[in-house]
Amino acid sequence: MSGVEKSSREDKEHGAAIEVRDLHKSFGALEVLSGIDFSVAYGEVVCVIGPSGSGKSTLLRCVNLLEEPTSGTVWVAGDEVTDPDVDIDRVRRGIGMVFQSFNLFPHLTALENLTLPQRRVLGRDKAEAARIGRDRLARVGLTDKEAVYPAKLSGGQQQRVAIARALAMDPQLMLFDEPTSALDPELVGDVLAVMRSLADEGMTMLVVTHEMSFAREVADRVVFMDGGVIVEEGPPEQVIDSPTHARTRSFLARVLDPAAAGLGGPGEDGTDGARP
């Protein structure tokens, strides 16, 4: 019996970067995730879309155990993160996470934000951490900002430093939770460009986003969530351009053309009416 389990686990290790089985998560009486099954293959870019409060962040946070799942199983790169005996700090090293609110360390410069985790977590020496840190800052186009504190950077620059910080740990996969939602519109492009180049290099990425054009162009697969379940998933051209579910259509109508939805009140109402 244990042999069967072991072999299935090895299959997962070779098959998927992230594997989620029957994941449930409740906060008190509120069930936020009601049985999620999905996986992300190595090198794949998966975008998660869905209305606010549908559980997208919670799903992402269950992958690196920032939230403890109520039940279900999550494997990341062959490690079962839901196993109580797993060394979660070791697993998290391999998972880069980018937050909506950047969460740079304000008491450290841009470069120190990159070097401190490398030195404390990976045990890299000062010179190597600085060399790798500068390389990652160059990747996100911020070489000249290495000595600057986060408070002196624009939102877009802060988010790019946050991406560089995650990259400096040489992660096997990256999680992005609405990385551009807190940015002024004119700063969104720089961050998306960095993410696009990461995807082009084959980084495994799970991205919660409302940027439909990014999802359409970069994602291998789009997952639409609503009410704690995956409503539909598939290639972007299918989910975004010809969704099969009414809930997906109504969500996309609101996200893709908020101006038209706002102006054409009756049309939006009609779409919403189809929602339940």
Binding site: L66, N103, R120
Partner: protein, 279 residues
């Protein structure tokens, strides 16, 4: 607009005139009376007081000269030294207590709460007596004076600093810990490298206030039997008072405290202003 009493003429021109006059004048009269009272008090004091006596008691130049340089080189230096010893020990213990207070293990929390409540509730004087006289008598050990001072000031200061630091730790946004953990840092590492440095920055103004309080509390050292070279400002001033029968040394000692506390107080206000700006 105008009351019947104050408006004999109903024209709009004269009505506001009488009203504004009375208002402005009233303020001027009230202020004038205040100045007059002050002037009278000053005059009475100046005439009644025996200035020769006062100058001899408070501003005796010979006595003042005799206090230098020891009041600086010994007393002021010792006050600063005792304060820093107490502050250093108190800060370390306060940090430990704050972490215990936030621990997930309930007995740690209980211990920390009991400690904090106890040492905030008893007079610092009592702690000095306990450590200076109680411990040597009860345990037949004689603590080094500097250790006694460090413990006595630190034990009390720690209770206050623990609560301050705890508030600072709680004020660091949760996203900071989450970012640190997501990079693979352990709970303890995230606390030490990410949360505590930010928490201490947040509580720098109240901690500086605590340093001011400790500077003044260090005067309680005068209770302990000190050798001459261990005198701090209060003990030094008191000794000189006995020798000279003049308040002058006390006044100088007081000024020496102000030399420490006023700049620190100014620093606190600047720190508060700069944190307010940063928000």
């Amino acid at each position: 607009m105008s009351t019947p009493k104050s408006a004999p003429t109903p024209t709009p021109k004269s009505a506001p005139k009488s009203k504004s006059m009375s208002r402005r004048q009233r303020t001027r009269v009230v202020r004038g009376v205040q100045y007059a009272v002050l002037l009278v008090v000053v005059l009475v004091v100046a005439l009644a007081a025996d200035w020769g006596e006062i100058r001899r008691a408070f501003f005796d130049v010979e006595v003042a000269k005799a206090q230098f340089p020891e009041i600086i080189t010994t007393a002021l230096v010792n006050t600063v030294l005792y304060t820093l010893l107490g502050f250093g020990f108190g800060l370390a213990l306060g940090l430990l207590l704050a972490l215990m207070r936030l621990s997930k293990v309930p007995p740690y929390r209980w211990l920390a709460v009991a400690y904090i409540e106890f040492f905030r509730g008893v007079p610092a004087l009592l702690v000095f007596i306990a450590l200076g006289f109680g411990v040597p008598l009860a345990f037949q050990v004689s603590l080094n004076q500097y250790v006694t001072v460090m413990l006595a000031l630190g034990l009390v200061g720690a209770a206050y600093m623990a609560e301050t630091i705890r508030a600072g730790i709680l004020a660091v946004p949760k996203g900071q810990t989450e970012a640190a953990r997501s990079l693979g840092m352990s709970q303890g590492r995230a606390m030490v490298s990410i949360v505590i440095p930010q928490a201490l920055r947040i509580v720098l103004p109240p901690l500086t206030n605590e340093l001011i309080l400790l500077t003044k509390d260090s005067s309680l050292v005068y209770l302990l039997g000190l050798s001459l070279s261990q005198y701090e400002l209060a003990k030094f001033g008191r000794d000189a008072l006995n020798q000279n029968r003049s308040l002058t040394p006390i006044l100088i000692a007081g000024l020496c405290y102000l030399v420490i506390t006023l700049p620190l107080g100014h620093l606190v206000r600047r720190l508060e202003a700069s944190t307010a700006r940063a928000r």
